[in-house]
């Protein structure tokens, strides 16, 4: 995303928070596009102020948790605001595409440039199996309704006049879940989509939006319900301040109990280390980790063959939610992280009721004017380990298991799911063997969770913030060695 669209998206979330707590939510929600682009305002990005406002309206629709595709333009934002208050459950598929912003991107993938000489041989016309190319005024023209993007013409042209134009979302989707509609807008096929969020981060116009569950959480906050907020280890790299200050800031927002998900990561480490030992002992060649929500959807939808090699250990979110539920059975559990795939994971976990992303949490801080630096540095109980806190950095999970396990662990790290790493995983699954190590850590996002689609800080800043915390954290206890265990 460009800095501009990131800024816009965050500003809208803050405006939704402010509108929600104002005297008249529906009215203030309706005014958001007008407040952001008042009469006579400069029009920084689009052709005219009306178009800009229309796009802002669509972004607000997503922020209120609805699909932009379903909008027929006759429903006002105040009606959406009202509907969002009545909604009983958040919508399922977690992403939505803003057509009006998306159309600005290339409408078709194969494009004839000015290098076309209108040559006599016309190899492009004859190679195209779909009859999509015609010569008009001595220049070849592609009929995008017929073009199947097979790229044969690109190879056929002796002047290299035909090119494939990059479509950022489509090119970056690891599982080919995105297609362009005939009107030029992108469409996500949710049967294939693994909610990795790559399209969200890669679209330069910020056209792919998460359907936010912010309204759900705002309603609970306003009703002063007993709420538990569980924050993923990656969240620590997204805000200034200490963990103690961050926790007090979250309580100031209105969350009754706050849990570090690193606490659940510690359970994951222990179980996964044990599981690895057992599996290796049984003669299995390798095991993959299982904490990444995007990877878990990937194996289910696209590579079931590898599931037998994937750890059965649950995710840090799972264990944290279990602990939290036990300690506060009546509280509503909310999870926050920079990752949209966790929304999908939460739908399948009865202990997690809602999911926020870090940008939405940031919007709550801004909207409620909470300055983390001024919050009390509260005492941390049940302090998680250094290894648990290092989960969101690529390589961190494997390192943690290696540190804990009582066997020789040789980690191999998949830092980001893309076509190349998918090929590798397929190979491991097919051969039942991995030459690169016996513990394969898979993270869907580049850099790990700190590269998630809804991050606030760049990878470097996040790493630095996390490192400061790690330097003051204790190691997880190592597993007892067999000799020790028998001695006792």
């Amino acid at each position: 995303m460009s800095t501009n669209s990131i800024h816009l998206k965050k500003e809208i979330l803050v405006r939704i928070v402010k509108a929600f707590f104002s005297e008249n939510f529906e009215k203030q929600a309706r005014l958001i596009p007008y407040d952001m682009r008042p009469k006579g305002a400069e029009v920084p990005f689009r052709c005219c102020i009306y178009k800009e406002r229309a796009i802002l309206k669509d972004r607000v629709i997503a922020g209120l948790g609805f699909a932009i595709e379903d909008d027929d333009e006759t429903v006002s934002l105040s009606e959406y605001a009202e509907k969002s208050l009545e909604r009983k459950e958040p919508e399922k598929n977690p992403l939505t595409v803003l057509g009006a912003a998306c159309k600005a991107c290339v409408p078709k993938r194969i494009h004839v440039t000015d290098l076309c000489q209108g040559c006599v041989a016309r190899p492009c016309v004859s190679t195209c199996k779909f009859g999509a190319i015609e010569i008009v005024n001595g220049h070849s023209v592609i009929d995008s309704t017929k073009c199947k993007a097979c790229k044969m013409c690109i190879n056929a042209c002796p002047y290299n006049a035909i090119v494939k134009v990059a479509v950022p979302c489509e090119d970056n989707c690891p599982v080919n879940a995105i297609e362009k509609n005939e009107d030029g807008t992108a469409k996500i096929d949710f049967d294939k989509c693994i909610s990795c969020g790559r399209c969200v981060s890669k679209c330069p116009f910020g056209a792919v939006h998460e359907k936010s569950q912010l309204i759900e959480v705002l309603k609970l906050l306003k009703a002063e319900k007993e709420l538990t907020l569980m924050f993923a280890p990656a969240v620590v790299g997204q805000f200034p301040g200490t963990i103690g200050q961050l926790k007090s800031a979250m309580k100031k927002v209105g969350f009754t109990h706050v849990y570090e998900v690193a606490q659940g990561a510690d359970v994951t480490i222990k179980n996964e280390a044990k599981e690895l030992e057992e599996r290796l002992e049984e003669g299995q060649d390798f095991m993959t980790t299982s904490c990444c929500a995007g990877y878990n959807q990937f194996t289910k939808k696209h590579l079931p063959e590898i599931e037998q090699y994937k750890s059965d250990t649950k995710t840090p979110m799972y264990y944290t939610a279990e602990i939290a539920k036990k300690e506060h059975p009546n509280a509503i559990n909310i999870f926050v992280s920079p990752c949209v795939a966790k929304k999908q994971e939460a739908f399948e976990n009865e202990n997690v009721d809602y999911v926020l992303n870090t940008a939405e949490l940031g919007a709550l801080f801004i909207g409620l004017q909470i300055e983390i630096a001024n919050c009390e540095d509260e005492e941390i109980e049940n302090e998680p380990s250094k290894q648990g806190r290092n989960f969101p950095v690529s390589g961190g999970v494997a390192e943690a298991v290696k540190f804990r396990a009582n066997c020789e662990v040789c980690p191999s790290v998949i830092n980001g799911l893309n076509k190349d790493s998918i090929r590798l995983l397929k190979k491991y699954a097919q051969n039942g063997k991995c030459d690169d190590g016996n513990l394969v850590e898979v993270m869907c996002c580049d850099g790990g969770c700190i590269g998630g689609n809804a991050t606030i800080a760049d990878e470097r800043t996040a790493k630095k913030l996390i490192k400061t915390i790690l330097d003051n954290s204790k190691d997880i206890e190592k597993e007892e060695t067999k000799e020790n265990a028998t001695k006792q």
Partner: protein
């Protein structure tokens, strides 16, 4: 030569709205301007709290000039402008 003092707001609002990604200034600036410019982070400058002003965050102060919706490019431009004034 005139000295330029750059203060990047690291308060919550500015951090969330984008100053978290201005840390690169710490590398870019010395390479470009050597010792004439000093960059540091600081607590909330107090500009974010009045109504609507959060939308102009992140704020960066270049001597007395406030750069709003600051990006690396905007800040570097302002530094250059001030250095060229003299």
């Amino acid at each position: 030569m005139k000295k330029v003092d750059v203060k990047v707001c690291m308060g919550t609002t500015c951090f969330v709205m984008g100053s978290s990604n201005l840390q690169k200034l710490i590398d870019v600036v010395p390479r470009k301007f050597k010792d004439n410019v000093e960059v540091s982070g600081m607590a909330c400058l107090g500009m974010c709290s009045s109504s609507g002003e959060y939308s102009k965050a992140p704020y960066v102060k270049v001597n007395d000039v406030v750069v709003q919706e600051a990006t690396i490019d905007k800040v570097v431009e302002e530094i250059e402008r001030q250095l060229n004034e003299h």
